[in-house]
């Protein structure tokens, strides 16, 4: 998010910060891999309820997943906007992405509260433990993403994001899309597939 020009000449011809972001995302694969692995290991192993089949509300979560998916579209439209110098488009799409992200988060907050009412907590059983920690970590990533988007939005509003700085949007986008694809995996493996 700094105002630095793209790196001059680099050994690979790739921008330093973009390479850094990709390395970060590669290592994030291991982070989410571990969390998902723990969920899968303990799936169906809870000694007491409530169990996933008692709680999951597939239509609701599908809408959530859809919201996050669409936020990826608006995110990439924000990038396309700044790349052609369309400041107004940039602001609109950034704002939409942040709002969709917030919508997803409120959906998650609602879901957590509902589950909690039904008696599921971090300590109630293995399902509660692995579910809350996995989706909670994902939610924390989305939260950070929203903060980044809002920060960029403020910068855009002040006119401090010019066409030449589109890399800032691109990097935020890479992060955002990654968080989105993690949810694609979670949605299928955790919600839709239940043995």
């Amino acid at each position: 998010m700094s105002h630095t020009p793209a790196a001059l000449e680099t050994g690979t011809g790739l921008d330093n910060r973009k390479l850094l972001m990709w390395l970060f995302l590669a290592s994030e694969c291991l982070l989410f891999g571990s969390l998902i692995g723990a969920y899968l290991l303990y799936r169906g192993q809870s000694v007491v309820g409530p169990y996933p089949e008692d709680l999951f509300d597939i239509p609701f979560t599908s809408v959530s997943a859809f919201v996050l998916l669409m936020s990826s579209v608006t995110m990439v439209l924000a990038l396309a906007a700044i790349q052609r110098g369309d400041q107004r488009g940039l602001r609109i799409w950034l704002l939409s992405t942040a709002l969709l992200g917030l919508l997803f988060l409120s959906g998650q907050a609602f879901e957590f509260t509902e589950f909690n009412h039904e008696g599921l907590s971090l300590s109630s059983n293995l399902f509660g433990t692995t579910f809350f920690v996995l989706t909670g970590f994902h939610g924390a990533h989305v939260t950070v993403g929203v903060l980044i988007l809002l920060s960029l939005l403020v910068m855009a509003w002040r006119g401090r994001l010019t066409q030449s700085q589109s890399l800032n949007i691109e990097l935020a986008g890479l992060y955002w899309h990654f968080v989105d694809v993690v949810w694609i995996v979670i949605f299928t493996l955790i919600y839709l597939i239940q043995p």
Binding site: G11, T12, G13, L14, K18, L19, W22, L23, L25, A26, S27, E28, C29, L30, F32, G33, S34, I36, G37, L40, L41, Y42, R43, I58, P59, S62, A65, F66, L69, M70, S72, V73, M75, V76, L77, L79, A80, A81, Q83, E170, G173, L174, H177, F178, D180, V181, I184, V185, F187, T188, L189, L192, I193, P195
Partner: protein
């Protein structure tokens, strides 16, 4: 770390040509993004739809996995531009994913867990 040796890294002479190429191939336009977005929305709808079809219960799991893999690939290739960007980035992501996947399978199999 065969990643380091991957084709993404070139000698100094090849670098400039590569850099040019990357710029030219730049990114697709908004229209294409919206199209991808529509496809993603449709796949999600299909996923949720078939979830409720009892007739295909036996093959539901593989179908769901394939569909989500398609979604994953679309986002990664278009929205994250791996299709147009340096090979190195693709290698990094693929490396992380494969490592995570393989390790997960081994751990689960030794502890009596199942992937799906």
């Amino acid at each position: 770390m065969t990643l380091a040796e991957s084709r993404g890294i070139k000698g100094p002479t090849e670098r400039e040509a590569e850099a040019e190429e990357v710029k030219e191939g730049a990114h697709p336009g908004p229209l294409e993004y919206v199209k991808i977005g529509l496809i993603l929305a449709v796949i999600t709808a299909v996923e949720v739809g078939i979830y409720y079809i009892e007739a295909i219960e036996d093959v539901l799991v593989p179908i769901l996995i394939v569909l989500s893999a398609i979604k994953f690939t679309l986002v990664v290739l278009w929205f994250m531009h791996l299709r147009f960007d340096s090979r190195l980035f693709s290698w990094l992501l693929a490396g992380g994913l494969m490592l995570a996947g393989i390790l997960m399978v081994i751990v689960l199999s030794t502890l009596g867990g199942r992937l799906v």
